[in-house]
Amino acid sequence: MGRKILLIEDDRETASYLAKGLTQEGHCIDEAHNGQDGLFRATDGSFDLIILDRMLPGLDGLSVLRALRAAHIETPVLVLSALASVGDRIEGLECGSDDYLVKPFSFAELLARVNALLRRREARIDPAQHRLTVGDLEIEPLSRTVKRGGKKLDLKPREYLLLEYFARNEGRVVTRTMLLEQVWDYHFDPGTNVIDVHVSRLRRKLDEGYEKPLLHTVRGAGYMLAA
């Protein structure tokens, strides 16, 4: 399950910390420390994912990203940035990045997003996703129906979207911020536990009355759907 990841980050300390962590997860990391070098290495298109710092000496991150997309290199890109405002995040996403993570972040958050992006790339390669199954849970994306152990679950539209997102990231940690961004499409940080309330509602409908829970809480990181 090791993947080739290009890490374009000028801060050596951050770069080696991230590279070490990702290597431990079984990925193969290639490092570049400035924009030009990063762009040059990225253009061969052999990477599964690019982690790109937004503020780089010489050629800045967003310019690298634009150049890549202009050259039709569709490798998923995760942008890292200290620019935290909502406007900055949206600008980053509009430039063609697949995800945007604000510094400082926890390694768990980064890993969750890296895995989600790698997973999405797999899903893109295999588009015949007519049915998602996790243990005895079955999801039909086309009709938006959910069955557990053959019994139909009655979910509200947002609950369905939450569950589908969890299912598409089966076995991987999903953070609260990822849920807010991917399921609700909001890019601000709510000051309340609003996401947890939604997840616990979903969990009640999903796991109550079943012997084996599917939706797990991962301490200090988020949630995970796994059989």
């Binding site: 406007g87 890019h187 601000f188 939604h198």
Partner: protein, 468 residues
Amino acid sequence: MPTTLRIALLAGLLALISNLAVIGFIYFRTNDQAVATVHQQVVEQGKVLADVYRSGGAIALDDAIEDTITYADPQTMIALVSATGQQIKGNVDPSSSTALPRLEGYQHALVRLSGQTTPHESALIAHRLPTGQWLFSGRLAGEGFALRETLERSLLIALVVAGLLGLCCGLILANYVGRRVGEIASVANRISGRDLSQRVPLSGTGDAFDRLGIQINAMLDRITGLMGELRLLTDSLAHDLRSPVSRLRSAAQAAAETSDPVEQEEKLGSVVRQADALIRILSAVLEISRSEALTGRNQFAWFDVGELAAELTEMYDPLVEERGAVLEFARPARTVPLFGHRQLLAQAISNLVENAIRYGAGGGNIRIGVTPGEREIQVEVSDNGPGIPAERREEARRRFGRLDSSRSEEGAGLGLALAESIAHLHQGKLLLDDNAPGLRTVLRLPVVPGDTADRLVGRVARPVPIPR
């Protein structure tokens, strides 16, 4: 004061040049006139005598000369001179008669009349008679030429006086200008020396200097205001970060001191939570200053406020329910298009809702309302909690203006300030009102912010509201 001196010299020079022009004009006009008058008189007199000679011969001329000497004014000169220069008849001193120029026509010469001690410049006309004698008739040009001399002298004096006066005026003017400019400069100087309370004194006449002063004072007021705001912000930031940072510190210390792995993990989790709370405060402060600086306008687009409010209602409904309250929202029948920043407005509304949940959920009902309008849209969030008394509402909307003194983890007192700055980004307002009982917060937003409307012409057509 080299500038003052330069201005004075310039003013003096200008006065001198303009006076020179005027005086020169007067001089030439007057001089021409005087000479022309004498010339005309002399020519006329000469013509009369020539006529007399032609009609009456030498005897009539003799009489005419006699008459002229007797009756004409003392400025008149007349002489009949022999070919050798002897005066036969006339009022010219014999010593001077030989010196008369024997040349036909009008000319100027020095003539001494009999009984006079000095010769005077005269204009005369000479005519040679057929007998070989010369007839001179003319006028001592004394009055005319004296006038010219007087004029020359007085004009010279006038010129000197004008030059001196110009210099004086210049000095006074330069001094005045220098003083007014100096006042402004010294204020600017003291301001550079860090005393921002200085203001330019105004003369009250409303002249250009006053206008300059008013502008500078207005600029200083604005700078002082901004500095005050900045100081308040950094002060309260430093103050408000103090408690989360110290909590973070003690949590980290506690985690370090624990040997039990389970407890340690729990305490480390608390460290992370405290750090996250800090980051949240910093992001909010950043977002506020971003919005106040009006960045993010380039991300404005049309969207349906009704749909956004419905989405947020759906998002917060479970949380409100969990707190034992009810979240109400009546979606407008039509779409409510607004040209703005959807993400930031979502954040503003969610701040208002979270505020209501945090402080007003005890009251039972939280209501979200969207009121469409032709030019302005109102988004309101109201609760039936304790509300905020009128005199404390200004304080509540200030950054870090949290009214309860508790320093709980939840909320840094930036919610309302952030909502207000996002309203400002949209050229709108945040109103705090009494909901009797409770608090009613209203975002008043123009459908299209006035200063972005121009840019939009021909770029983004306003969507037609459609019934849902």
